[in-house]
Symmetry: none
Subunit: 131 residues, 4 copies
């Protein structure tokens, strides 16, 4: 399975799972409508408790990234993720502000910062074929 966890991270495991799934969706590794492993299967694969996986799945469903389908199990939302809007943009600014403040204090130039973003975007757009 595509999930790589850091068990010694401060980021909760269920949060890491959410992030990895979103990254998979961004890179195209996970396509809309595609089925994800069952909670039990994924839990077994990565050696954690099924409730932890379930929590990640539930929250992604609440965010409309996933559908929990009576027949097909857990799938990537066929319509893709919800589209960006003002609320998302505000959330984004609130998330970025402290990160950028930190970088700014460290005298990282705006260009250097934007380059980092650019690189990450490139990985998403180009998928893994470029890597």
């Amino acid at each position: 399975m595509f999930i790589q966890l850091k068990f010694d991270s401060e980021v909760p495991i269920y949060e890491q799972i959410k992030q990895q799934i979103k990254i998979g969706m961004a890179k195209g590794t996970l396509q809309p409508g595609e089925r994800l492993p069952s909670v039990r299967q994924l839990a077994k694969d990565i050696g954690i408790n099924l409730h932890t996986v379930n929590k990640a799945y539930q929250q992604l469903r609440d965010e409309n990234f996933l559908l929990i389908h009576r027949q097909r199990g857990v799938v990537i939302h066929p319509d893709g993720a919800p589209k960006t809007d003002e609320i998302h943009k505000e959330t984004l600014k609130a998330e970025l502000a402290p990160i950028i403040a930190d970088a700014f204090c460290r005298e990282m130039s705006e260009n250097d910062f934007l380059s980092v973003c650019y690189e990450i975007f490139k990985e998403m757009k180009g998928g893994s074929s470029d890597g």
Copy 2:
């Protein structure tokens, strides 16, 4: 004091304090060598526990953003924050990746994303000169 807390946020209060101080430093509201309120004073001002403020100060000291003098109290590090390096850049990428993945899934364009970053940078650069 300039600290604005959200007590119903998921972000711990000590973390919010750290962020606000860094934002203050980025905007120039807080200058190198400038003295911060004492732990007790700040705790009283914003109506929180003294240990919470202390934790924020301690961690900022560990990150070399602050100096804690036994006599002169807590001051912004005279040399400013530590400079960006490879370690910081890697940390930054790890922080940004899930945020960008989320934005990418929501079909936010790279330009729109970079604009948001640009805006935030502008607030830092223009910061106190406008005020």
Copy 3:
């Protein structure tokens, strides 16, 4: 067939089938004595498991909405549904209370709420005669 299912709903499929049949009966699309598709046929039509359809039919029979003849198959009860009584009224209140509480909390006016009910009733009454 007139059944529209949402496979990603929290409502179980057999429950959705029951609801749709009752709505059909209320709108007059389904008349007393009218024959319904066989379990196998309906299951095939909507692409679900045979047991699911069966469960819905069985429960509607237990509620006296349907008759299941060994020969003539499944039919809408010739006498129509059982009539409302005190038991039904109590059940109804128990079902409505949390829904109304929710609407009340959201400051929906009593008139607005009753209007919604009125609209739904109108669809039932006007139902098939318009079609």
Copy 4:
């Protein structure tokens, strides 16, 4: 405590808790900003597991009925519940349709149905003082 559970109900316990809290809010028993018992306390009071209470609280927080406050614990949202809107109205119609269809099939008159709604509203508006 004000929560009354039916352990033999089909409605999940956490759902009953949610409903009871909303009813309390509607009746004014629970006021905006008022503190709720801690998960552990409430769990102990009604003799269930703390995770079950937590699930109810979490979902009510997600619906913006509650705030989980770093200092005051779990409180009724100071602004009250989110206001009704088109989304809520659609949800409401979807919830009411099968209930009304059932009543309609049982030949309950529209007036009788609206009377039941009226009674429930009266309990909310008048609080318990009328009862």
